[in-house]
Amino acid sequence: MSYEISLNGQQESIELLNKDGNLIHISVGDRQYHVDLKEVEKGVYSIILDGTSFNVELTTTGNKKYLVDTLYNSFDVEIIDAETKYMNSRKKDNDDDQSFISTPMPGKVVKILVEEGQEVKAGETLVIVSAMKMESEYKVTTDKIVKEILVKEGDNVDGDQPLITLE
């Protein structure tokens, strides 16, 4: 079965052609590889390709999504199967529309600058969140109305948790 794989946003086909123990024959786009691949620790792969030894570490960041670290680089990878394709096609309509404010990392809500129902202009700061002694301001990208404020000042929040919904 052939899948698509997205690496830092670039999509290509990928197909497992054969597997014999840890020896794998695989195609990525139009390139074919014979690799010796072993999961040596949970999520850590040792890969030998034409004699070159690679260490690759995977962190699951979501359903079928990985953050992959090599010694020099980090990559965002997503496996695109039929289900994902369907979801992506449905999502596309709303994609550029900001429906809530969230932070990429855990933190503590320092200040909420808006109220529910308030109209806000593009670039306006809605909330300030601190993490590791540093405060960050979170703004809206387009004109919006504040629908619901889900947290209060002093709350600890997780990464990617919706803080304020918009409409």
Partner: protein, 503 residues
């Protein structure tokens, strides 16, 4: 004799202090906030006491809670580490009042050095050079011209009431003096309603060089040479090294003497650091004193061969210094880098979170002082520094090569760290040549940008690993075929059999 020490800190410095306690046969007591129950210093210490909620204002900074923990554990002494209460004179006084030894200088020394103007006056009295300039405001242009000529160009004219760059003028040339002072004054008047200005020597390409000192309670004081700390980001040190690549033996000896004079001027005891601002011609001026252990103390330990925490404890015990100035010499070269839980490719955004996997770089000439472990959730409440990597080699060039090797092998997944940024610093020509000042990071942005280009091969290897992991994951979730022994993946069993045949 100190038999039990409470370490009023967390993270790598708490662990570092506990290690020395253990070598000296001293029991170590940890304190922890509610966010730190899982932290390594709690696991590493002999004893551990809860001192309050996550916020350091309610835990690590609460003098009363620390004192209560010290009493409960019957600790003889408190080591404050760096940060938190380490430069708090009130805390030092309180310890004294409670009959607990504060491992650090006297409250008097902390206070005197803690106030910039008092410190400046004390240093001038002790003949330690300070940045030339006027403390009192100057109202008169003629007086300004005379003062500037005395100080020597270039100078910075600054509004006494000012801030934010307003009413500030850099004067490079004698011809500019009158116009420059006038402009500063009128700008100051317009901005703050007050045309008083003061004048300070301007250091064109400043280096931050500091001297480590040790002083006992018997009037002995020695210095342990310099540390070069000019690689800074947002006024925070990023890389430190010793010896400084710009230092000469005669300037070193002279600065060391001044550092000792500075410490003696406030009857200092314990470990401390005299920070100097130094120009390209090695003119140097007292900047401030850090009346505590520094983050970067390990490079001095490595090159001079002295355990600074051990000396602090012995001094606190009332013992005379173990070393005389003439016993000490610098041996080889050491570099430290600080690793932060920040995303260097995204404006150094803090990155607390759960550590998935760590590969520590070890081997010849590498010291790694950290505190995180696999599965540890780095709290968002505290400083983002997670570890320090210290390397030593006979020469500076070899030390840089060793640091590159160590950073290459250092891998932390699950959170973002500054490891890749530090690797790039090691490759900047100005750093390799040892020709850098505090403008280093802004001057070398082009070398410090993240490497965006990975080869097709590496990209494909990454895709392959993720894809195989995904397939194995699907496979492991397949429902059992009714036979419980067969619950394991058929695909995996097949793979395993085949590889056994290969053996």
């Amino acid at each position: 004799m100190i038999k039990k020490i409470l370490v009023a800190n967390r993270g790598e410095i708490a662990i570092r202090v506990i290690r020395t306690c253990r070598e000296m046969g001293i029991t170590a007591v940890a304190v922890f906030s509610e966010a730190d129950r899982n932290s390594m210093h709690v696991r590493f210490a002999d004893e551990a006491y809860l001192i309050g909620p996550a916020s350091s204002n309610e835990s690590y900074l609460v003098i009363e809670n620390i004192i209560q923990a010290a009493k409960k554990s019957k600790a003889d002494a408190i080591h404050p580490g760096y940060g938190f209460l380490s430069e708090n004179a009130e805390f030092a006084e309180r310890c004294e009042k409670e009959g607990i030894v504060f491992i650090g200088p006297s409250a008097y020394a902390i206070n005197t050095m803690g106030d910039k103007i008092t410190a400046r006056k004390n240093m001038m009295a002790a003949n330690v050079p300070v940045v030339p300039g006027t403390v009192e405001p100057i109202k008169d242009i003629k007086e300004a011209v005379e003062t500037i000529k005395k100080i020597g160009l270039p100078v910075m004219v600054k509004a006494s009431a000012g801030g934010g760059g307003k009413g500030m003028r850099l004067i490079n040339d004698e011809k500019e003096i009158v116009a420059g002072v006038s402009a500063a004054k009128s700008e100051a008047k317009a901005a703050f309603g007050n045309d008083a200005v003061y004048i300070e020597k301007y250091i064109n390409s400043p280096h931050h060089i500091e001297f480590q000192i040790l002083a006992d309670k018997h009037g002995h004081c020695i210095h342990l040479f310099e540390r070069e700390c000019s690689v800074q980001r947002r006024h925070q040190k990023v890389v430190e090294e010793t010896p400084s690549p710009i230092m000469t033996p005669s300037v070193r000896a002279e600065m060391g003497k001044h550092a000792v004079s500075a410490a003696k001027a406030v009857d200092y005891s314990s470990a401390g650091t005299i920070e100097f601002i130094v120009d390209d011609d090695l003119n140097y001026y007292f900047l401030e004193m850090n009346t505590r252990l520094q983050v970067e103390h390990p490079i001095t330990e490595r090159v001079v061969g002295v355990d600074l925490v051990k000396e602090q404890i012995k001094i606190a015990n009332g013992e005379p210094l173990s070393y005389k100035q003439e016993d000490l010499k610098q041996n080889g070269h050491a570099i430290e880098v600080r690793i932060y839980a920040e995303d260097p490719d995204n404006n150094f955004m803090p990155s607390p979170g759960k550590v998935k996997h760590i590969t520590e770089p070890l081997g010849l000439g590498v010291r790694h002082d950290g505190y995180i472990y696999e599965g540890y959730e780095i709290p968002m409440h505290y400083d983002p520094m997670i570890s320090k990597l210290i390397v030593w080699a006979p020469s500076r060039d070899e030390a840089i090569d060793r640091m590159k090797r160590a950073l290459f092998a250092y891998k932390i997944t699950g959170i973002k760290t500054t490891i890749s940024f530090l690797s790039r610093i090691m490759n900047v020509p100005a750093f390799r040549e040892g020709k850098y000042n505090t403008h280093f990071i802004q001057d070398n942005q082009k070398y410090l940008e993240p490497e965006k280009n990975a080869s097709q091969k590496i990209r494909d290897v990454v895709s392959i690993a993720a894809f195989i992991d995904y397939l194995a994951d699907i496979d492991s979730r397949k429902p059992a075929n009714g036979n419980s022994v067969q619950q394991q993946s058929n695909w995996k069993i097949c793979g395993r059999r085949k590889s056994m045949n290969r053996l």
